[in-house]
């Protein structure tokens, strides 16, 4: 019973589109309004990261079930330069673009599960999930 949505990220407007679609899907999956906002914010951060560092990529949104939990899975993929030091990138305040950083560590704080796989020169895949207990 999975719903899947693919949002290509190539321009500014796609960041907005990705977070709006994320919010909609989260709403359909029964997440509270507060959680929808949190999910949208996390998606916004990750989508912007793609634009900033890889110029283009894609975000897949999917709803899943695990026992009596409903989940929203967000997978952000790009073929950009990759992150040489993932651990460092996940630290607060670290940024190579002179901004506030906060993209990766911020998104991680907001979501329940968070995983980054990055190969310098090949690309980066960020998988993040948020869960809620099914209330029927």
């Amino acid at each position: 019973m999975a719903d899947e949505l693919l949002v290509p990220i190539a321009a500014d407007v796609d960041v907005v589109s990705a977070r709006q679609k994320g919010r909609e899907l989260a709403a359909e999956a029964g997440f509270s309004s507060g959680d929808q906002t949190v999910i949208a914010a996390a998606i916004s951060e990750i989508a912007r990261n793609i634009l900033m560092y890889a110029k283009r990529g894609e975000i897949t949104l999917r709803t899943v079930m695990n026992g009596d939990l409903d989940g929203l899975v967000v997978v952000a993929r790009d073929q950009g330069p990759g992150i040489p030091d993932v651990a460092r990138a996940l630290q607060d305040g670290y940024s190579t673009s002179g901004g506030l950083g906060l993209g990766l560590p911020g998104a991680r704080r907001l979501m329940d599960d968070f995983d980054v796989v990055s190969i310098p020169g090949k690309g980066t895949t960020v998988t993040m999930k948020k869960w809620r207990r099914r209330h029927a």
Binding site: D12, R23, G34, D92, G99, L102
Partner: protein, 130 residues
């Protein structure tokens, strides 16, 4: 999408109507700074009631606006942050520290009025500086 900016006396009021892209936010920043200079505004209110998400770029831009406005002699107040947006922001670690916030437009205007009065009084020596 251009954000409408109203001039109300010495204040500028920017009312965000819908979701903004990063480019829209940057454009808003430029427009506000330009107008603060042009009209010698004393205060800027940015109404974000319609924003259902505030991420790091939005916060950064608002901080930039407040900083640049202050350099030109204007106080900035961000109004209308939704409860859920505020909650998501603090979880993300975004604090808008150093930027004034108020509940809504009415409160924002009251805040700016108070600030303006205090500034006058400070100049007149009735309230000690600093």
């Amino acid at each position: 999408m251009e954000v409408p900016i109203l001039k109300q006396g010495h204040y500028l009021i920017a009312s965000i109507q819908s979701a903004l892209t990063d480019a829209d936010l940057s454009q808003l920043r430029e427009a506000l700074i330009e107008r603060v200079g042009k009209y010698r505004s004393r205060g800027v209110i940015v109404d974000v009631t319609a924003l259902d998400v505030m991420d790091s770029f939005a916060v950064r831009t608002l901080r930039d606006i407040a900083h640049m406005a202050r350099l030109r002699g204007a106080e900035t107040v961000i109004v209308g942050i939704q409860p859920e947006v505020a909650f998501a922001m603090v979880q993300l670690g975004l604090t808008l520290k150093g930027v004034s916030t108020a509940l809504d437009l009415e409160e924002g205007l009251a805040f700016l009025d108070r600030q303006a009065r205090e500034r006058i009084e400070r100049v007149q020596g009735r309230i000690p500086r600093g």
